[in-house]
Amino acid sequence: MNQENNKIEVSELYKAFGRKRVLNGVNLSLKKGESLVVIGGSGTGKSVLIKCIQGLIEPDKGSIKIDGFETVGTPRKDCEKYYATMGMLFQGGALFDSLSVWENVAFGLIENQKMPKKQAKEKAIEVLRQVGLGADVADLSPSEISGGMQKRVGLARAIATKPEVIFFDEPTTGLDPIMADVINDLIISSVKKLGAAALTITHDMASARKIADKIAMLYQGKIIWQGTVEEMDKSDNPYVRQFISGSAKGPIKVEI
């Protein structure tokens, strides 16, 4: 494998909450410009995995390298430069409800890149247009717009700072199938436009098929399978087969 090309490299990552082991030796790498989708059931630790990569949760042991820089065990302020190259679309949008829509989108530009407000607002409106929203929503508050629009604003906020990697936490969960497809298209086009790498976690197979260059399956704290969409369809791995067919029968045990 070409190590130079890896934007993110996760090896032997462990994380437990109390006695509950969530990540149990995860190995995963993301190449520059690649779109990787991690699939897995609810509560398998997908969100924990990407939060570890972004330094929001401290792993118990293992290694996470961003552009070859080891972040595990390094003080946050020394990693900040690397974290700044990453953007994230949160599952619930996580828009700041004390700020207007445009202030949300411009947040990174104003607070970090120190862009003057007027210029940041113009930029924010431009990015909003990219995700299919008009200038008329710019001054609304996040609670005044629909769930689908909130997802778009979250996406606009994630791409406004032109990150090199974008994380998508269940981008289509909770949306109707049509809106889900609109979001998939927006993810593809905005990631392409930036030339960024994308790491998406989802259990929506339609979405995964559409946006993935590569798919990895997380089960019981480990990546148990990786490959392209075609390889997935041909795979005879029983776990993968069960997950893509969405059957209750099979080796995957659901904890109730």
Binding site: K51, Q54, L56, Y83, G87, F90, S98, E111, N112, R157
Partner: protein, 264 residues
């Protein structure tokens, strides 16, 4: 058989919160250290500080004014009932002055602000925690301690003393109203007695207490909100905890500070 159950349950009831409390002491100390560090290192957010000052100060003014007004009034009435045999106007003026400035204005302002602002802070920050807004701040390279916690702590320490000074004036005025209009004292004598008795230590005691209370209220609001988990229910718990812990701490610290200042 039954009498043995009680001590065991009692110990268990005492034991679990104790374990939780001790595990929290470490977490709380770390929170305080990070919060204080954030207050003194850039970047600073003056606009957010101003917003918090207005939030805490301006909107708390009515409740603080009302509580201290009636506190001053009731002290005047009660003192008159107790001291009437001596018939000394100056005694009432002095008792009102000292009890309002040293004890009642800071305690009432503290408790009122704890109920209003401590709860609001815990609810707001707790909601931001469970809806991942705090994580979102971090991913946008903004330190949540500097952006959320520091402005609230600083605003608490700045605003509560101001509220208490205003509460002092209103409380003393309340005493004056009762003395002059209900007890028919001579207004000039009453004012004279108040001014003659006024000492700097009365005001500074109240102001020091207020600054400490402001810190405690904002700290408990931010801490409980920041560490809340588990959706809407978690936020509700955080809000209750913030108000209960800061109210208890205010009453304990009120006693401790009085002890430190007035006993040799």
């Amino acid at each position: 058989m039954f009498q043995f159950k009680y001590p065991e349950n009692f110990l268990r009831a005492l034991g679990k919160p104790l374990v939780v409390f001790i595990s929290r002491v470490g977490e709380l100390s770390e929170f305080i250290a990070r919060a204080l560090y954030s207050c003194v290192t850039p970047p600073f957010y003056p606009r957010l500080l101003l917003k918090q000052i207005i939030n805490i100060g301006f909107y708390s003014l009515p409740v603080v004014a009302l509580t201290t007004l009636f506190a001053g009034m009731v002290i005047a009435l009660q003192t008159h009932a107790g001291f009437s045999s001596y018939g000394a106007e100056s005694a009432i003026a002095t008792v009102v002055l000292i009890s309002v400035t040293r004890e009642l204005a800071p305690a009432f302002a503290g408790l009122m602000v704890a109920g209003r602002i401590g709860a609001a802070m815990a609810a707001e920050i707790g909601t931001m925690r469970v809806t991942e807004q705090i994580d979102a701040l971090s991913t946008l390279s903004t330190d949540p301690y500097k952006y959320l916690v520091a402005p609230r702590l600083l605003a608490g320490v700045i605003v509560l003393p101001l509220l208490v000074v205003i509460g002092d004036i209103i409380g003393i005025f309340g005493g004056y109203l009762v003395a002059v209009y209900q007890l028919d004292f001579n207004p000039a004598n009453y004012i004279n007695a108040t001014v003659n008795e006024l000492q700097l230590i009365d005001i500074t005691t109240g102001v020091i207490k207020a600054a400490v209370f402001g810190f405690v209220i904002a700290l408990m609001g931010c801490y409980n909100g920041y560490k809340s988990k588990g959706g809407a229910q978690g936020v509700g718990e955080a809000t209750t905890n913030a108000v209960v812990t800061s109210s208890i701490l205010i009453l304990i610290l009120n006693y401790v500070i009085t002890g430190l200042i007035f006993t040799e």
